[in-house]
């Protein structure tokens, strides 16, 4: 019995082992990989992705899916930049209001998404996909296709100032992850996400207002997308419709690679952290080892399959969709 228990405990850590294995592999090919400076680089590219993936983790835990992130990020990024610039252009002044403002916008978009899904009874895949189009369109309408630059050195210090070798952005993302962890493990809402993911009809029969819970999940996700948008803007100093690009597949891949099941009810934000790191380590590692670019898509595919294969507990899975 104890032996089985330790085996089960080991299982939980497999994604982490995969991550360590990848790091060792890339290091073996190019020792430069294993350096604080490179880890800081990976942290920079991971920070926005981590926020987005964390947001969608909550939705996936409920057994739904959210594909609206690219649109939400675009709108949040663009409006954040506009607000910041309109409010004096610096976080040291009234500009800081742009941060809560962006989070609010993320929450509103999440709420709209959730309400369309719940009230119109449209599967989340479709509702969020459509809303993603609307979001991209919205940001296009706002910017007319232009880019908005943010010069504020205080805001850009998220990228440029380092503490312990890592940029502020990485620490901020870590702090947000801890909040997400708290929401997931210690709040009623967080626990109820697991309940809905474990069996929505059962949860409803137990008296949960699953509709409201779903909407809450999408709102939480929206707020994290807004955080992702802010970090993405901090990384490049540019807010534009393209800011959201590529986040959809990358974030969901990260969530799954980390070991959270798409059918809901299992996994969590720490898994997502590991997943995001795995995906970004692969992305960085392929460049660092000098893999020809035409092979990169394929190798990424193979490595992702391997990672998911290793980190899923097949004994508990009879059927995979």
């Amino acid at each position: 019995m104890t032996q089985r228990l330790t085996m089960e405990n080991l299982r939980k850590w497999v994604p982490l082992f995969v991550l360590i294995g990848l790091v060792l592999f890339f290091t073996a090919v190019n020792p430069n990989f294993l350096s604080l400076r490179n880890f800081a680089r990976i942290a920079i590219s991971s920070s926005p992705a981590l926020m987005v993936a964390t947001g969608v983790t909550f939705v996936i835990l409920m057994g739904s899916i959210d594909l609206s992130m690219e649109g939400t990020i675009a709108v949040c990024a663009v409006l954040f930049a506009l607000m910041l610039n309109a409010l004096g252009g610096s976080l040291s002044g009234a500009g800081w209001l742009a941060i809560p403002g962006a989070l609010l916008i993320g929450a509103v978009l999440g709420a709209v998404n959730g309400l369309i899904h719940v009230k119109l009874k449209i599967p989340s895949f479709m509702a969020s996909l459509s809303l993603g189009f609307v979001g991209i369109g919205l940001s296009l309408l706002i910017t007319g296709g232009d880019r908005i630059l943010i010069e504020d050195p205080i805001f850009r210090s998220l990228l440029t100032v380092r503490v312990g070798g890592f940029p502020l952005m990485a620490w901020a993302a870590l702090a947000c992850l801890l909040i997400a962890w708290f929401i997931q493990d210690d709040t009623t809402v967080g626990r109820n996400f697991y309940a809905v993911g474990g069996g929505e009809d059962l949860a409803r029969a137990s008296g949960l207002n699953t509709g409201r819970l779903r909407v809450t999940g999408f709102i939480v996700a929206g707020i994290f997308y807004a955080l992702g948008a802010i970090f993405a803007v901090a990384r490049l100093g540019i807010a534009e419709t393209e800011t959201g690009q590529n986040f959809m597949f990358v974030s969901i891949t990260s969530v799954v690679v980390g070991g959270t099941s798409l059918s809901g009810g299992s996994g969590g934000v720490w898994n997502t952290l590991v997943g995001v790191l795995i995906v970004n380590v692969i992305g960085n590692g392929m460049v660092v080892v000098g893999l020809p670019d035409y092979f990169q898509d394929g190798v990424l595919g193979l490595l992702v399959i391997a990672a998911v294969y290793l980190s899923t507990d097949r004994r508990s899975l009879f059927f995979v969709k």
Binding site: H117, Y294, L300, V308, F318
Partner: protein
Amino acid sequence: MVGVTDIKFLSPENLLNLATDVVPLLIMAVGMTLVIYIGSIDLSSQSVANMATVLATVTLPVAGAASALVVMAAGLLFGAVSGIVTTRLKVPSFIATLAVGGIALSVAQYVSGQQALHMDAGQRNHAFGWMQGSTAGIPHELVLALVIVGVAWFIQNRMTAGRVLKAIGTGEPVAVASGIRVERYKILAFALSGMFAAIAGLMFSVKLSGGSPTLAEGFLLPAIVAVLVGGTPLTGGVGGVMNTLIGTMIVAVVRASMLYLNIPATGQQIFFGLVLIVAIATTIDRSKMRIVK
């Protein structure tokens, strides 16, 4: 709505054109339907189609019309790999097909030498010229597409394979406990989806007389949307290829209607998204979905 705004929109000729234009999309969506019908998804279709355009262009001078077979076999193979990865390695199809799509893309880039290739007009017409023609005003492409849809419909509704796919979509454990070799059929569904994607790529490449690793870019989301708007939910077991036929037409009409309604450039995405929400809200059959996830 669009028809009212401009009566020309509903002319038979116009509708026929509209239908012909979306033939490759339709074929890809039909393949996708089989996979969604079993409750999975295929995100590799677009990359497989990209690869198909490259392979078709590269093999045409050597193989002539037989290049179609090469392309279809390649699609079948990549689809089957997705199926095997999902069933045997238990990697969710969302990820498995995305990853296999990456591999297909790498193949396309490698084979094409990262360049756009074009077909020799003579060779193309010799091998596939018949595809581009039309009889009695009806384009052969459209006929071919309808035949393919018809075959898929027959498989789905009248053949054991189709019944098994439905059983997998509605209750996979039951299918297993009924002694059905579920894995084989799942692999079959993915393989067929890959093949349909390859056919879509092939037809597109013949239409455009060339191939490139990005030629079929932009197929994936419309294909998925067509399936879902048609009324085959991601949970599987409901809907089918006829729904997808309708769904594809909806996508085509929505796209064309932007032009007829003079939607300004910056508003097109918003319009598309909102119309999709309305379309799906009106088309889905909620009575067959116990839980909307």
